[in-house]
């Protein structure tokens, strides 16, 4: 889903999605919008996302949706960069909003998890394998978040409403259609 305008100058608002520590379910839910993706791409350019071939986060993005908790030093570095170059930052889904499933490891400690899951303590190549933070934590504990969209995952309808309302310059009212866990 590469926007036709991605290589040329465009006056359309710039949209990005970022994937931190999550299962990609929120991005799958985004894809579940089906034909409405085309409607959105007429209103905005998708300039950065796991779904497009763009390696570097652009200098300026109007709306960025973040899936996933902050679990590693790399996640933290990434979200600080994204925040600095984004106008409206949206925590998309329970992992970004509450740390959700990634946070299940938090009471146990990093070492116990690495011993159990990676069979043998800290990574041998810290330059290529990011170090885990002490806790997997919600995005808003590291950077300012402008809109929270709870849900595991938020439905395609919810994500469509979020993006179209923000593009229209309005703050979407999500209370009736979102809650933790669902």
């Amino acid at each position: 889903m590469i926007s036709e305008n991605s290589d040329t100058a465009s006056n359309l608002p710039k949209l990005a999605t970022v994937w931190l520590d999550g299962c990609s379910g929120c991005h799958m839910s985004l894809l579940d919008m089906d034909h409405r993706l085309l409607t959105l791409l007429e209103q905005a350019d998708l300039v950065y996302s796991p779904l497009v071939d763009q390696k570097h986060f652009p200098d300026y993005v109007d709306i960025t949706l973040v899936e996933g908790a902050i679990s590693s030093e790399a996640d933290l570095e990434k979200i600080l960069h994204v925040r600095a170059h984004t106008k409206i930052l949206v925590s998309l889904g329970d992992c970004a909003v509450t740390a959700n499933v990634p946070s299940l490891r938090n009471p146990l400690g990093v070492n116990a998890i690495l011993e159990r899951v990676s069979a043998g303590g800290l990574p041998k190549q810290p330059d290529t394998v990011p170090l885990l933070c002490a806790h997997a934590r919600p995005v808003h504990t590291a950077v300012k978040v402008d809109l929270f969209v709870p849900g595991c995952p938020p439905s395609a309808d919810t994500i469509f409403l979020v993006i179209s309302e923000l593009l229209a310059g309005r703050q979407p009212d999500l209370h009736a259609i979102t809650r933790f866990g669902l």
Partner: protein, 235 residues
């Protein structure tokens, strides 16, 4: 017993003077949020969600344990109360490890419902991530302390309805925890009758039936009201 008149949220109403504010309000269609309150067992006043403002009193009062009186003027939904209620529920989330998406009680949980009712879309307070235990020693049920909000509904139903008093609270403050008998594994409890009332009374996924997967544990404590009515008819 006599009948008194009072005003709740500007609405004139009457109630018996042995009734609490919570029940008089509910009889007149005014809902006050609660978590530790359960019809059919005694009032506890522990969750503090039902705090209300009473004119002439500088402090807030828990509606479930404050009796109505003549001329009382009560407000249940001011901005100040909404702020406190939000903080209380946020603290419940930070003091335990509540992960709704993988919980047996997902979509059947009073804590989850309350966060929605109070329009909580994220937790602004710092999480504590305490290390808590899961007791799966009972043949039929599991106790997951990570999801326990210490409402004591299980304790009261076990003590007052079943008459077993298997459950109790040990420790104080942040170290408070639910224990069975003399802090021994639930499965070893000599007093537990395995009746399951505590499981039905639990508002979250802290007490649940073995074999239930995420979202499968549906609870219903309405039988307590019938038991109460039958008891009253008998006496």
């Amino acid at each position: 017993m006599r009948v008194v008149t009072l005003k709740i949220n500007g609405q004139e109403m009457s109630g018996r003077d042995d009734e609490d504010i919570l029940h008089v309000a509910r009889e007149h269609g005014i809902d006050i949020p609660t978590l530790c309150q359960l019809d059919g067992v005694s009032e506890w006043g522990g969750c503090r969600l039902c705090l209300v403002e009473i004119e002439g009193s500088p402090k807030l009062s828990a509606a479930c344990v404050t009796k109505v009186s003549e001329g009382m003027v009560v407000n249940t939904n001011t901005e100040r109360l909404a702020g406190y209620r939000k903080s209380i529920v946020e603290m419940l989330f930070t003091e335990g490890n509540h992960v709704c998406s993988v919980c047996v009680s997902n979509n059947n949980c009073e804590l989850q419902d309350m966060s929605h009712e109070l329009k909580i879309d994220h937790i602004s307070l710092p999480y504590r991530y305490p290390l808590k235990e899961v007791d799966a020693s009972h043949d039929l049920f599991i106790f997951d302390a990570n999801r326990c909000i210490l409402c004591t509904r299980c304790i009261r139903v076990c003590d007052e309805v079943e008459g077993a008093h298997t459950w109790d609270i040990a420790g104080r403050g942040i170290k408070s925890q639910l224990i069975s008998d003399l802090h021994q594994p639930w499965g070893d409890s000599p007093s537990c009758t395995s009746c399951g009332k505590c499981v039905e009374a639990c508002p979250t996924g802290a007490l649940f039936e073995k074999g239930k997967a995420a979202g499968e544990m549906v609870k219903d404590a309405r039988f307590l009201v019938y038991l109460e009515e039958m008891k009253e008819e008998k006496s």
